[in-house]
């Protein structure tokens, strides 16, 4: 329970920080956008057809970009605004940018619900467009605006779950990493409960205020109407609204500050990882690094592009999630200069027995299935070459295809299949090359069942990467030592039972 609370604390703070800050900023920006959408249209109080068309297009474009793509696409902008592209603060920027068009449309809808006649009545009093907006549209739309802000805040909570992509943390990220990928049901349930409580709370507060500002007889029965200087807007509820807003603002600022302090207190070595197994291995060796006085900040990524982009831009100091062939292709495609500094582990590709039970039992003309995707197909062919079954004219280079087979003494028929289908094909083939994750899913044990397994010599070993200039940083050297330590080896062998093998 104590562990659970400790785990939940930081992500909860991060989620509140992200959502509150994003809701406030996008609330202001979106309201401005919504007001402009309404007043600049043909027949509005401040008609500007060109601006109106531009804003509409901009809003539609903004709304049609999926949030996950937006988050990645605006990274340069994010870096320009907050100085970094990863972390909770950085996640706020795409949240705000993504939410503004959404808020804008909601505000537009809320303003359009305002009685058109009341607006015309204000116009006949000789009001300026600004007076129409701040004495008419906005106060009249307050209940609808509060409802819209409630919807936005709740939507932001679900958006913030994707913040893990840029290392933003938060409850959604916790649920994905520990709950979903780590099979910790308790954490998943706890996270969901915290989220439910948050969303219920926001909805409740939103409804109470919206109902109050509807100014129907019913709502006023909440409290008696006080006689006061009546031309000033509001009975005591406005002060509740003021203090409420201030309170939420303070909580948001507090959460942000708390988080930022934790981040910036001691400039740590920032390492980007995939949660499993990379993150778990790194987590395990943290005490070794702490003993050496090295602070490591682990930043979790849920995709394979961001950790390299963040590394190349200097937002992180090293990453640990990829193998060299992937890294090389990334460097070629993105013009980056990421280098591998240490092999840590391999999730071995294995040859599993089908009708033939051993390597030597494979008959002449045996059928061997290999994965059909480009990376794993080449990797499978390399495995077959290492086992001595075939020879490739390309040697040990990555990117091999079936065309490259130069010697095939046993006349093997190599057929390419969808990787996930390979375990199922075992009954119909003599042997199959299967990725560890699919082998485990089919209850195959790589250490016991495979008739041939990739070893640490494989180029597909997962490596610690960094950028030139940092490879000799003493902190990086210490990190390598820790990741290649006997403790790490023992952890890998015990924890993953052959699904992951040390590659050092």
């Amino acid at each position: 329970m104590k562990e659970l609370l400790q785990l939940l604390w930081a992500p909860t703070v991060q989620t509140i920080a992200m959502v509150v800050v994003a809701a406030l900023i996008s609330g202001v920006g979106g309201t401005l956008l919504g007001v402009l959408l309404v007043v600049t249209e043909q027949g509005g109080v401040l008609p500007a057809p060109l601006l109106s068309r531009f804003l509409n297009t901009l809003t539609n474009v903004g709304r049609s970009i999926p949030f996950i793509i937006l988050m990645v696409a605006i990274i340069p902008f994010t870096r320009w605004v907050v100085g970094t592209s990863i972390g909770t603060t950085a996640a706020m920027v795409p949240l705000v940018v993504g939410a503004i068009p959404y808020v804008g449309r909601l505000v537009e809808g809320a303003l359009r619900e305002v009685n058109r006649g009341a607006i015309e009545a204000i116009l006949t009093m000789g009001a300026t467009p600004w007076q129409v907006i701040h004495k008419g549209y906005l106060p009249e739309a307050i209940p609808a605006l509060i409802r819209a802000l409630t919807v936005v805040t709740i939507t932001l909570i679900s958006y913030s779950a994707m913040a893990g992509t840029v290392g933003g943390g938060g409850l959604g990220d916790l649920a994905i990493r520990y709950g979903y990928e780590g099979f910790r049901l308790d954490i998943m349930v706890a996270t969901v409960i915290v989220l439910i409580v948050m969303i219920q709370g926001i909805q409740f507060v939103g409804d109470v205020f919206a109902r109050h500002f509807e100014r129907t007889g019913k709502a006023n029965s909440i409290g008696t109407l006080q006689r006061q200087r009546w031309w000033k807007i509001s009975p005591r509820y406005l002060s509740i609204a003021r203090w409420g807003t201030l309170g939420v603002l303070l909580i948001g600022i507090f959460a942000t500050v708390l988080h930022e302090r934790a981040v910036t207190l001691n400039k740590p070595l920032r390492v980007g990882v995939s949660p499993i197994p990379h993150g778990e291995i790194l987590q395990h060796v943290m005490p070794i690094l702490e003993r050496e006085g090295i602070h490591v900040q682990i930043i979790y990524f849920n995709d394979f592009i961001q950790p390299n982009l963040a590394l190349a831009s200097g937002d992180i100091d090293a990453n640990f999630f990829q193998h060299v062939p992937f890294m090389d292709r990334f460097n070629r495609d993105h013009g980056t200069h990421i280098i591998a500094v240490a092999k840590i582990h391999i999730e071995p590709l294995g040859l599993y027995p089908g009708r033939a039970k051993t390597l030597s039992a494979l008959p002449d003309g045996a059928i061997i299935a290999i994965p059909n995707d480009p990376v794993n197909s080449g990797r499978g062919l390399l495995l077959l070459q290492t086992s001595g079954l075939i020879k490739l004219r390309t040697g040990t280079k990555a990117g091999t295809t079936l065309e490259d087979v130069s010697e095939n003494p046993k006349h093997l028929k190599i057929s390419e299949l969808e990787a996930a289908q390979l375990p199922r094909s075992l009954r119909d083939v003599d042997a199959a090359v299967i990725n560890t994750n699919y082998a485990l899913a089919a209850k195959l044990n790589p250490l016991k069942d495979a008739i041939f397994l990739e070893n640490s010599a494989s180029p597909y070993a997962n490596v610690l990467s960094t950028v030139p200039g940092k490879e000799n940083d003493p902190r990086i050297r210490a990190l390598i030592r820790a990741l290649q330590s006997p403790e790490a080896r023992q952890f890998i062998e015990q924890k993953y039972q052959g699904a992951v093998l040390p590659a050092f």
Binding site: G126, P139, R215
Partner: protein, 373 residues
Amino acid sequence: MGNNANPSSQLEPRESSVPTPPPIVLLENLTKRYRQGTNWSNALSRISLSVSEGTIQGIIGFSGAGKTTLLRCVSRLDLPDEGRVLIDGADLASMNGAQLRSARRRLGVVFQQFHLLRSRTVAQNVALPLEIAGASQEAIEERVTELLAWFGLETKADQYPSQLSGGQQQRVAIARALATKPAVLLSDEPTSALDPETTASVLELLRRVRDELGVTILFITHELSAVRAICDRVAVLDQGTIVEEGPVEQVLLRPASRTTQRLLGRNFGLDQLAGYLGGRAAHPEAVFLELQFLGASATTHVLSTLVRTFDVTVNILRADIGELNRSSYGFLVVELGGATGVIEQSIGFLEAYGAVVTQIDPWSEAETTGRPQ
């Protein structure tokens, strides 16, 4: 009024005996066009109307006659295509920006659906035009207190519109329209959303506004009863033009235009008479007469005297007594049977008593008003 010796003198236009003050509202050749597909059609065609200060000027017409368009052009919610809208000497149609905003404060507008701000209390709604005009808080407080007292709304000051009845909301709307002491009040069907009892009290309130505050009122309506109750003059609008305009007694008792006759006919249910009479053929020598009396003659026993004096049969089909511009007003539809000469004599007798007599044909009334039974 009510001089029995010379009953018809009541029907003379009032303005002949009263010096004419300068017009406070002057509409000149007001034209507004709307596009329907590729065609342009006139919603208003060259409307000209002059309203003197302190008048309650009715503007009546069937729906679609252009009443709403006229109100929107006069209040400058729409820009007329041609013509001038002079309110207290300032031409709203040619103004824009700050000039228009300041001129608008001389014109209060009241709407059928009240259009109060839901987010503001009664007092705050009344204060709104003053806030917009940039009045000081002291001035606002003073004026709002004064208005709420005048309108009997003191106890409602801190309530929200949704807590008020329709009639109360319309009172607030009228108070709000008068906040900046406008010279002219433009009211668009102000009683059409109200029940008859509330309607009467709102109309009475509007009359007080004119009598005690000296505000000129442009009163747009489709309800003849409202025109009869408070208007001094009335303009009849049909298909975007004014077909008839004059003192209310003249226009309503001796309608010159077919539109006015139709309006009156529908009001008195003449269009439904044919239905009540059914298929029965009229008495071959019978005539149908519409009789209107104003003033004291409305209350005399004209018909019984008629029957005692002439050899005629009288069948009363409809009868009503009401108020027209603060005089009593009687209305009858009768079927008169008898010899042709006697009927003519009877009509002469009735007119001598001060009745306005119109011969009608119930069957054609049903046709022309487009509501056959």
